[in-house]
Amino acid sequence: MLVFRWRGAVIGRAFVPVTDAGLPAAAITAAAKQHLMPDAVRTWIEDVLEFDERGESGVSAFSAAVAICTRERPDDLDRTLQSVTALDPAPREILVIDNAPATTRTKEVAARFPAVQYVAEPGRGLNRARNRALREATTDIVAFTDDDAAPEAGWLGALLVNFQDPRVMCVTGLTLPHELETPAQELFEEHCSFVRGFARRVFNGRIDNPLLVARAGAGANMAVRASLGKDVGLFDERLDAGTRAMSGGDHEMFTRILSAGYRLVYEPHAVSWHRHRRTLEEVEQVVRGYGTGVYAMWTGLLVEKHNLGVLRLAWNWFRWDHLPLLRSVSRMRELSARDRLRKAELLGCFAGPGAWLSERRVGRTPS
């Protein structure tokens, strides 16, 4: 994968075959000419015109904490902490939220970084860990990164500058693959990429449909106001990793943020590199979790908010993505790798409503 930048800003990418000899400059230029979209030229024009819709670029008066919610992945965490401790501007606080720890390995890794504050959260679940981070932080903004991601040095500053607008409650960033070493990682990047384009986009809760948040980014790379819990409510602890729902906690929050009339910004200048799972089995598990999480989230919206709009979304998803898969299966065609992912996703979707209902039954608290 080639990533194209203009004065540091990522403006596009291309997938090209690479040999051990690497790529000659002419091939890179040719790839750029072929793959760069008009948004890339717009970035060039903005630069030439010294025009930045964010206002005074790079100026932020906000204090920030970076929270890393993790569970038993010390090697990944070490890499993430190396990146987070190199951020410029540096966060005022760095929180490692050790979610339902089974060993002391996470604590030991955190101890190697003097600036890091280690917090053990005994309750299992990513959204519990996120909520713990919001309670522990004493800053204006809390930025979240996954424990298998490595934010670039300018990541935090790029997120923060967007909070100058008081209506912005959440900012997500551009997440690129840290490595594409295995076919499974390539498959994941091709079909489940975190990339949501290379142009900044503002989602306005007053105008945009709060249910259409898939294009808004992901919780692996996001920052929220510390007042989130007071203004919108905390993350729903019945959702996301560590629960039967397996995911969906970030998008449920995005929907709630927009429904409350706030804004959410997708900021591609905030770049983080995410290490995708390496085997097809792992990737299938992740994708299955996405299907479960989305349907669990929608079940919650349907049952508790009586939001019928999720039925339309479910139908559209089924019609355009899953129905063709079922047709393939019915014709006994051998499933391609992509179809295997879609199958995992579909099975996850089927499991979603039950997952949400069982989480509710065991009495996990909503936000």
């Binding site: 750029a32 000419k33 793959h35 008009p38 903005e46 015109l49 306005n204 007053r206 105008i207 249910l211």
Partner: protein, 430 residues
């Protein structure tokens, strides 16, 4: 000894005691404010219905003036006539000023007197729901534009709910026109710009607009806007192309049918609003925000054109209005970007043109037509015009001039740029 107030605040009201008390209470919390007075103009209601109570009980001077019901424009004129200060601040009764409003408006006019200051109105919908969110969204989009220091102000930007000006400015513009059904702010803004006054955004004047509009009220308002548009065109023919009546907002076959039905005022026409309202309820329940929005726009369109037809006296007359020739455009200033952006901006600042023809050396980048009712161009407008209105052609001009980095050359083949190549073919040939 009575201190002459530095600011006179004029608030028309037709009997909403709760909002008036909220506004007056907010004015007791002003910070760093010089002496000011408030004139409540009771439009068709008795003073007791205004909610002021005992005027002497407030920590600043409060006057209550009454008039037979004649509308907000007349009420503002009456209030201005009785103001003791040389500086006027108009506010609607559903506005809640923040603590810095008085000081911000006074400071704004201390720097330059020949301008109108529009303050911020942070929207708050009392009824909420999807319609409330849409309404707030509309206000926010407008507020964001006004707050942008590169915004080109137009006749729409004098928000009579929260704006200030010197008494002299108010008198030179001849006050508000009470004969208009609504849009007296548009009329005032147009006359202000035509007479050489500037409009500016008063950055620290924050106020909350507690909007009690529901769908019925919005539809009625749109109907009134249709009537007012006909009145405005009769008064200012130059505004024709700048108003919705000259440039329909909603396009498409169904939207056109709705508009024609409104013009025809047939039985079908009377069935359209309830049908659209039913559709809106359904789409709202299904969270189909885009379809809901389209239905709302068509409902608004129907109300607007019904108002237009009523004011014009029939659909034939509407057709005659719509087929009238637009105003003769004023000449464009030719600016060349090749010697540098700063130089181009200086040239624009020196000429303050109504229209622009932007070149990059021998290559045409684009043309900005004369827009009646918009302020004369300033240099600060150039960059947003280039970015938002001429980006593809600017890229093509840069490509032909050898300034576009090679990596970007591929986008010239993109569909977005295809029409640009044709438009600027003359430049390429040259």
């Amino acid at each position: 000894m009575t201190v002459r107030p530095a600011l006179s605040i004029v608030v028309p009201t037709n009997g909403r005691p709760g909002p008036i008390r909220r506004l007056l209470r907010a004015l007791t919390r002003q910070q760093h404010a010089p002496a000011f007075e408030v004139t409540i103009v009771a439009d068709g209601v008795v003073p007791a219905a205004t909610g002021v109570g005992d005027p002497g009980a407030w920590p600043y001077t409060v006057h209550v003036v009454t008039q037979p019901h004649a509308g907000a424009a007349k009420a503002r004129n009456n209030g201005a006539a009785r103001a003791a200060s040389d500086l006027l601040l108009f506010m609607d009764d559903d506005v809640e000023p923040g603590p810095g409003v008085v000081a911000a408006h006074v400071a704004f006019h201390a720097r330059q007197s020949r301008r109108i200051g529009t303050g911020e109105l942070v929207p708050h919908s009392i009824h909420g729901g999807t319609i409330g969110a849409a309404l707030c969204g509309w206000w926010e989009v407008m507020g964001d534009a006004l707050a942008d220091p590169r915004h080109r102000f137009t006749f729409r930007d004098v928000l009579t709910g929260h704006c200030s000006m010197s008494r002299r400015t108010f008198d030179e513009i001849d006050g508000f026109d009470p004969s208009l059904r609504c849009h007296e702010d548009f009329d005032f803004g147009f006359r202000a710009l035509e007479r050489g006054f500037d409009i500016g955004f008063v950055r620290d004047a924050h106020a909350v607009h507690h909007d009690d509009s529901d769908l019925n009220k919005i539809v009625r308002r749109k109907f009134d806007e249709g009537i007012a548009s006909v009145q405005l065109i009769a008064k200012h023919p130059r505004l024709f192309r700048s108003l919705v009546i000259g440039r329909p907002v909603v396009q498409g076959r169904v939207a056109k049918m709705v508009r024609n039905a409104a013009a025809g005022q047939s039985t079908v026409s009377s069935l359209i609003p309830p049908g659209l309202r039913l559709g809106m309820r359904t789409f709202d329940a299904l969270s189909m925000r885009d379809k809901w929005r389209v239905s709302l726009d068509m409902l608004m369109d129907h109300a607007f054109w019904s108002g237009v037809v009523q004011a014009a006296g029939g659909s034939q007359q509407v057709r005659a209005i719509r087929e009238q020739a637009g105003p003769v455009p004023r000449a464009a200033l030719v600016v060349d970007l090749a010697p540098g952006l700063e130089r181009a901006e200086r040239v624009i600042d020196e000429s303050r043109p109504h229209a622009l023809r932007v070149m990059f050396g021998e290559h045409l980048v684009g043309e900005l037509e004369d827009e009646p009712g918009a302020e004369r161009l300033r240099g600060v407008h150039l960059r947003p015009i280039l970015l938002k209105g001429m980006a593809p052609s600017l890229a093509i001009a840069a490509l032909r001039s050898g300034l576009l980095p090679e990596a970007f050359h591929g986008v010239a083949g993109h569909a977005e740029f295809a029409t640009v190549r044709a438009d600027t073919g003359a430049g390429q040939a040259a």
